[in-house]
Symmetry: C2
Subunit: 236 residues, 2 copies
């Protein structure tokens, strides 16, 4: 079972997610080795003392281009082993909840477990509020209306691709910032859209920060940062 | 205050949304004249007997091209009057929760109230699970991963635009189906993507239905229907 825990505010779990966590036999969560799981931190207050936890620790600590064969191999092996560990619990009839930041099937690691187990076990996915919804709500920024097209870009794309997409002058969300922020900023300048770009860091969390990207003095960003590029339709 | 009530299952409201509804003085909800409000139906169990309700009834019953001047004028006037009705409550210090299906700032009517009142009153937006998250979760369909780009298209776009976008061969969500379904189907055939298109109607609701669009015999669809077009990465 994939359980979306939402963008970070523990109040933004759904009632269904809370009930699933309270009744699961095993709660699995992804984290980078040496770091606490962000999803677990968001859901911590809903875990029972008797719940068994299954941490799934990524073998690498930063994201690499997915074209990198060695990286892909290590990640494939990690997901295979994680799926096997979960399957071992499922085979004994236990209910396993896999926590996902945001929504499980929207860039969530859970989906790599899902596709490995969906033909062998009954799966259920509890959707969550995405990080982008959390960010544009925190910023009070209407993102799309009427006939608008929304494009969601991972900041991992090549600069030329980011520029090409941004030049379409449509509402755009750029996710997966982290060390991609300098490239994303250059792409926004090149496409002449920096003026409509809002930077939101850790949206809906207690230490949330936001500002126009043009006013952000440095280019450091955590993984939990997003750039929202609107067409500011409400000002016209 | 904009309150997202999620895709339709009453269990998919967030804890924060439920608390907001329980404590609001006034709960406003949009509906087409003569129809019950879908958002209100989803949230009904959380409304208090003492809560005052403010129905906001659209003056038109079907969506028209937004280029139509008379339609635009009627809609503008409707949002102006709705904002004024809400402002009258806010001025007396009452808390007004405006219900939104899905997420308030993602194609939600609430945003038209928001932009009219945000400079005069304190606003807060409680994000919700979007209908598209509800639909791809119900279908168990991993929508985007890794470096994927997600495009969200309103079915109201011209056919040539739909075809052009679909030809990019990327994960795509088509919303606002209703009477646009024949056009959307033709666009999927023209772009050679019908085989990867899943139709989901009233996702997460008790009467949810889903099927490959190629297997859907007719072209009737309610407003609450979505087409999910994946690149089926997990099969490769």
């Amino acid at each position: 079972m994939g359980v979306g825990v939402g963008p970070g505010d523990p109040e933004l779990l759904t009632l269904k997610a809370v009930r699933a966590l309270e009744s699961a036999d095993v709660v699995a969560h992804f984290a980078k080795a040496g770091n606490p799981s962000n999803a677990r931190a968001t859901a911590a207050r809903y875990l029972q003392a008797t719940t068994r936890e299954l941490p799934l620790l990524y073998p690498v600590t930063t994201e690499h281009p997915t074209g990198d064969a060695a990286y892909r191999g290590a990640i494939e092996q990690f997901f295979n082993e994680s799926a096997a560990a979960i399957a071992a619990h499922l085979q004994t009839g236990q209910v396993v909840a896999v926590l996902s930041e945001g929504d499980p099937l929207f860039f969530g690691s859970y989906m790599h477990i899902h596709v490995r187990l969906m033909n062998r076990f009954r799966t259920e996915v509890i959707p969550g509020v995405t990080s982008m919804s959390g960010c544009w709500s925190a910023a009070g920024l209407p993102i799309v209306q009427g006939d608008d097209v929304l494009t969601v870009l991972p900041g991992t794309l090549p600069e030329s691709e980011l520029v090409r997409r941004l030049r379409q002058n449509e509402p755009t969300v750029v996710m997966k910032l982290g060390r991609n922020l300098p490239k994303v900023r250059r792409s926004l300048i090149e496409s002449n859209r920096l003026a409509n770009a809002i930077y939101v860091e850790r949206g809906t969390m207690h230490d949330e920060r936001m500002m126009p990207l043009a006013e952000k003095a440095d280019d450091s960003a955590p993984y939990f940062a997003i750039v929202l590029v609107t067409n500011a339709w409400w000002r016209s």
